[in-house]
């Protein structure tokens, strides 16, 4: 790729240096729309359970491009660009709705749920005057339909028609971890949008950054909620773009100090008065208490104890990002488990004990790099590659992101 400004090069051929202009260059933002979001990627757009009935739709985004996710009369989910083929107005305005036809408010052009144009107001004019010429062919003016796949309750869309199946896009290792969480139908428990004052990549890097977790987020260490022993690691797929960071408590069964809540509090230290939040349940039978998973380029699946969420990261310009949080549980779960997820929701989201810092730290970077566009960030923890590692004191998955980013962006 040749950038208009020759000063803006990515000199280092490896993955350990990331130039700061990547977060500030309008040309990069445009190229990301073309190559990443409208290119050969799968983009999360909705949960399947958000559209239970035929005609149910949700407005969503692929990158910053508005789309409609709609269940057709045959029960299949379609993803259509939310832009009228006539004059470009947004067709669906509501977040959620149900419709037999999708009708643009501007001039009442209407489309069926496949996006086919089925109605043009005053097509034959009024009293024989005006109207569309005979050369107008409705078949050429439908809503652009995206490639879509529902994968274990997750709806993915792509502007590329010839994508590999989502499962092979994820790679076998990451796919297993997606299926671990999405092992049966889910239901939405709450939604919120967090607006961040930074480039979208800073948030994605933060999610992939297992190095910062216990340093920036001091909730667990402040309250001495130390785990007896914790194992875990990082899994990165071959493309580099998809990752899992996980940790696991292993409880020695003969340790008399172990208590049910998994807590150990220093006598002199600060401690929580109410530990309800920490009494987790091993729902998956594998002892994994944290699994953060990303799908390239901008999708996150979170399991923090029993708090489950998907996060869709939407670029809103060079230095604005929306994070759409959808917290969920299983459709068949008991009320007690739902209550536990409600209580543990205090850990996550814009006010979360262990995630509120993620809302501001990207802005700290965005503000600080204005005068340093020719300089690079340093991403060397855990080596120079983007392979899976059995430690979380590594930046391997951040390097993985840049590996996939450079390949997709041709940078």
């Amino acid at each position: 790729m040749t950038l208009a400004n020759d000063e803006r090069r990515w000199a280092d051929p490896g993955l350990t240096r990331v130039p700061y202009w990547l977060y500030r260059d309008p040309e990069i933002l445009a190229r990301e729309r073309e190559r990443l979001f409208m290119g050969r990627t799968w983009n999360y757009v909705a949960l399947d359970c958000e559209l239970p009935e035929p005609g149910d739709y949700k407005t969503s985004f692929v990158g910053d491009v508005p789309v409609i996710v709609v269940r057709g009369p045959d029960g299949e989910v379609r993803v259509l660009e939310n832009r009228c083929a006539h004059r470009g107005a947004q067709v669906c305005l509501k977040r959620f709705g149900n419709a037999k036809r999708l009708t643009c408010v501007y001039h009442a052009w209407s489309y069926d749920l496949d996006g086919k144009l089925v109605g043009v107001a005053f097509r034959n004019g009024v009293r024989g005057e005006g109207g569309m010429p005979d050369s107008f062919d409705a078949a050429e003016h439908g809503l652009r339909r995206l490639n879509a796949e529902v994968y274990h309750g997750l709806v993915f869309a792509s502007f590329a028609a010839d994508m590999p199946a989502v499962e092979s896009y994820l790679g076998p290792v990451i796919a297993e971890r997606v299926k671990r969480v999405f092992n049966r139908p889910v239901k939405v428990l709450g939604q919120t949008t967090q607006e961040l004052p930074n480039n979208w990549k800073l948030y994605v890097e933060n999610v992939k950054d297992s190095y910062h977790a216990s340093i920036l987020h001091t909730f667990f260490t402040t309250f001495k909620i130390n785990r007896l022993s914790q194992s875990g690691g990082i899994l990165v797929d071959d493309s580099g773009g998809n990752h899992v960071s996980y940790s696991k408590i292993e409880v020695p069964s003969d340790d008399p100090d172990y208590d049910v809540a998994g807590l150990r509090s220093d006598q002199d230290g600060l401690r929580l008065r109410d530990t309800t939040m920490l009494a987790g349940r091993d729902e998956w039978g594998d002892g994994i208490t944290l699994q953060i998973l990303t799908v390239f380029p901008n999708f996150v699946i979170q399991q923090i104890q029993n708090s489950l969420a998907v996060r869709q990261v939407i670029p809103r310009g060079l230095d604005r990002t929306d994070v759409n949080w959808t917290l969920f549980g299983y459709a068949d779960e008991d009320e007690e488990l739902t209550r536990l997820r409600v209580t543990q929701s205090n850990l996550v989201g814009p006010a979360g004990y262990i995630s509120m810092e993620d809302g501001c730290v990207g802005g700290f970077v965005q503000r600080a790099i204005g005068g340093s566009e020719e300089l690079d960030s340093v991403v060397m923890m855990g080596g120079e590659g983007a392979e899976s590692q059995s430690t979380r004191a590594t930046e391997s998955s951040i390097r993985g992101f840049w590996k996939a980013y450079r390949a997709t962006m041709d940078l």
Partner: protein
């Protein structure tokens, strides 16, 4: 009218405590088993149980204040609450009130944002000498939150 003024007085004291960074007093505005919840109107309309903050009981409120003081990282900021008069209904000894609010957030550099608008849905009871919130549900009008929400609303 007496009920309205009594509830308004409790709400103004609460807002003053939060706006003046007396967060250690914040749990005391609730009964011991009081519920404090922040959510948004869309979640409420859909009957979804998870919002932004969920504190069941004073102990969890104390924990949140302690965490804000000792553990969480966020830039220095404060709020300024502006409240409407409450619309109060009485059922026996229990008062229910709905009250509109605007909350401006003032950052340390002076940047001021209309951070949140919405309504308080309160259940107020007499607890000894004082009126206290048995329940305070903060229903934000918008689903969007700028950067993060640290200080309670």
């Amino acid at each position: 009218m007496d009920d309205m003024l009594a509830v308004a007085r409790l709400q103004l004291d609460y807002a003053a405590a939060v706006d003046n960074d007396a967060l250690e007093r914040w749990p005391d505005f609730f009964t011991a088993d009081g519920l404090y919840r922040i959510t948004n109107a869309a979640n409420e309309a859909r009957g979804l149980p998870i919002g932004i903050v969920h504190c069941a009981g004073q102990a969890m409120m104390h924990d949140r204040v302690l965490s804000l003081r000792e553990a969480n990282v966020y830039e220095a900021q404060r709020y300024r609450h502006l409240l409407s008069l409450p619309v109060v209904t009485r059922d026996g000894d229990t008062l229910s009130a709905t009250t509109s609010f605007h909350v401006a957030r003032i950052m340390q550099d002076g940047a001021t944002l209309l951070f949140a608008t919405g309504e308080y849905r309160d259940v107020v009871v007499r607890d000894g000498e004082a009126l206290k919130f048995r329940q305070r549900v903060v229903v934000l009008d918008s689903e969007r939150i700028d950067t993060l929400l640290a200080i309670p609303i």
